[in-house]
Amino acid sequence: MTIGSLPPRYRISIDPVRCMECERCIENCSYGVFRRDGERILVNSRNCTACHRCIACCPRDAISLEEHPCDYRSHPLWTREAREAIYNQARTGRIILAGMGNALDYPVIFDRLVLDACQVTNPSLDPLREPIELLTHIGKKPARLDLRRREGGDVELGTSLTPNLRVETPIMIGHMSYGAISLNAQVAMARAAKETGTFMGTGEGGLHSAIYPYQDRMIVQVASGRFGVNIDYLERGAAIEIKIGQGAKPGIGGHLPGEKVCTEISRTRMIPEGSDAISPAPHHDIYSIEDLAQLVRALKEATEWKKPVFVKIAAVHNVAAIAAGIARSPADAVVVDGFRGGTGAAPRVFRDHVGIPIEAAVSSVDAKLRDQGIRNEISVIASGGIRGSADVAKAIALGADAVYIGTAALVAMGCRVCGNCYRGLCPWGIATQHPDLVERLNPDTASEQVANLIRAWTLELAELLGAAGINSIESMRGNRDRLRGYMLDESLMQVLDVKQVGA
């Protein structure tokens, strides 16, 4: 024995007094933690992922879960994760895969920013009684207008506007592909997007016919693998997004293991059944910024200049200059995905170590575009680690037009952020293609929950704006005067362009 077995990560125990041996835990655990042995239910805690499915379905609260029941000798540098990665790689010689977002203990900048409210010198507004406008337009805007008054006094508009997406709330759902998530999960979110007047991304998985009823709320994605892309697909979407990179894994392409490529996915993605769908790291027709501008133009040309085209980039060190380059193309919006952005599957080393936080990225993108006098001409969508309405308000105050949520929408459907999405065994029916698991997710209930989440955040956002004496979302955009930094260092506050609390 060289390495031997590692301490189990979780310990599941069943209280024999409470348990009534209904076996719901056995049925529900797709990782094989529970099995029946005569009169007893036996537990293999090593298989546990802390997905909480068993706890959620146990009618008697008989199951308890403990994290790290037997830990390593504590050490500040040689953490459990560091040691286990080495054991794992010493055994396999492979890259370690991981799911969800960045799991290292970086400080969360959002939690060091506080919002403002009015007292005395101006009245706070009451959203119950006064209008608060959250309507957001995503797309290219003119730099100035040709507005003239005719003889009779009528105003004549000489500038023609580019089509914009009209979004009822600045909260949109980001791109999660059919493949990474189940069709039920995608249908549920698409329906929620339609109900709440927002939009949702298809991811790089094409557009399944079950989504067609919601297609006017879908942003179709063109990524480096070009899976599912044809003229029909482009024409069905409300907008088109070119995915250059993703916050969870900047610099590399998407991963969908062949096991997940069933008949339906094969048809939607237009790839053979059972084949791995590994997207190239770059787009092989984009080796420069002018190549990107060409692709933007080509997609616009293909859809007769009727659809907004977004470009999504991962938040990397030079994100501001890259966004400024994108703003000079006919692209309508730049999506900036921070390093906390989630994923179905990514190499752990990328997920945890590559890229920068969305708070800093969106601040520097907004500032750079302003320096160049072109900020209002393009929309900025922030994504990657938006957990609540406060994060939405802070992202907008730092300069975003709107946000994409991903993980939060999955959590609204039951996801417990266990981080095992890449294994395809999601017991919640979200990140899986096993028919028996997929059918656990009822699209009717799930869509209502996602819609509720968006409605609830929208209400909270209206309250936050009203308290700040602002009755329209555009007056919050880039309004960093309404933020203060709490326990942030001076250089970071300069990047964020916020003052410290008390100043």
């Binding site: 101006n122 100035r144 207008l145 507005l147 008054r149 302003r370 602002i470 555009e474 880039g478």
Partner: protein
């Protein structure tokens, strides 16, 4: 009209001030120098700071005349600056790429001098117009400058209750850039957005107070982007989307375009604002009218004020008094 009437009107509203800032602006007061830009400057110290401004102006044009603005000591007003005025003619050949070289030179010089913070602040820069302001009660400021000695055809005045920068003369209203002057009752909650927007066009905010940005936004929209003043005001205080959606198609389209294009210029928070240039006076409020605005008319005269009492003090025979609806601008044009 000379300045005694508006002094009287403003004194009716002393309850709205705190004796820490007041000011006046008058159009048509410098007929002898009608073609020159009248630059009003606060010097911290004539000996040290004036030569820098003299040299800068000489570099960019000709100083036709300059002098101290006459002032008269008031017991309640501590003169922390020396107010000075230049009558300046910029040399248009120095900004050959510009379509309005003289205006561009003067506004750029104003920004440059004010940003440098070398004990000089240009607070008024239009032709045949002058701002007179200081820290103090309105009557004291009026008497300090003896504004009754000036004859103008349009007057704006303001009484300040400062919370941010008490006593700072630059922070008193009116704010002026080139032809446009602004007085403002309120607090702009969108200031952070507006300031960052206007600064991306080369303006620099130097007065530590929100109203400054209104003068620059009007300059940008009217002078540089060529919008008529009522359309510019509509961009600053646009109708709600709900109202825009109900408009007939052509009207809806241009209102939508205006709101989308100038979203970062839109002003939020409570305000009533009066702005003026050589030919116009316009009053407007925020979209829900969280600050008062009263309009009076008498013959060919237009009065806009926070309170009716002020109008009646100035024009006891006022013929009509109205209160415009939220967001509805009131425009007066100077008869040719």
């Amino acid at each position: 009209m000379d300045g005694s009437g508006i002094r009287q009107a403003l004194s009716m509203m002393n309850e709205r001030g705190s004796g820490e800032g007041a000011g006046y602006v008058a159009y048509g007061i410098y007929p002898d120098y009608r073609d020159c830009y009248a630059l009003h400057v606060f010097f911290d110290n004539i000996r040290e700071n004036k030569s820098v401004v003299d040299a800068t102006l000489a570099q960019w044009g000709t100083i036709e005349h300059d002098e101290a603005i006459p002032t008269y000591d008031r017991p309640n007003l501590r003169a922390v600056h020396t107010p000075w005025r230049y009558f300046f003619k910029p040399d248009p050949s120095l900004a050959p790429a510009s379509t309005s070289p003289e205006d561009d030179i003067v506004s750029a010089l104003t920004m440059r001098v004010n940003t440098a913070r070398r004990g000089a602040l240009i607070f008024s820069s239009g032709k045949d117009v002058g701002v007179f302001k200081a820290g103090g009660w309105p009557e004291d400021v009026a008497d300090f400058y003896r504004i009754e000695d000036y004859e103008g055809y349009t007057w704006l005045a303001h009484n300040r209750y400062p919370t941010n920068t008490p006593g700072w003369w630059g922070g008193a209203h009116p704010f002026n850039l080139l032809g446009w002057s602004v007085v403002h009752n309120g607090e702009i909650t969108s200031y952070g957005t507006n300031r960052r927007y206007i600064e991306s066009f080369g303006y620099t905010c130097t007065m530590f107070t929100d109203t400054e940005v209104v003068a620059y936004l009007i300059d940008l929209l009217v002078r540089r982007h060529g919008l008529e003043i009522d359309l510019a005001v509509r961009a600053l205080a646009p109708p709600f989307w709900e109202e825009i959606d109900r408009m007939p198609e052509a009207e809806r389209e241009w209102n939508r375009a205006l709101r989308l294009t100038y979203a970062p210029a839109m002003m939020n928070g409570p305000f009533a604002i009066v702005a003026a240039d050589a030919g116009t006076m316009i009053g407007f409020t925020d979209r829900t009218k969280l600050r008062p605005m009263v309009v009076g008319e008498c013959g060919d005269r237009l009065y806009i004020s926070s309170e009716e009492a002020a109008i009646r003090a100035m024009e006891p025979k006022v013929e009509s008094i109205t209160m415009p609806a939220a967001g509805e601008p009131v425009v007066g044009r100077v008869a040719p």
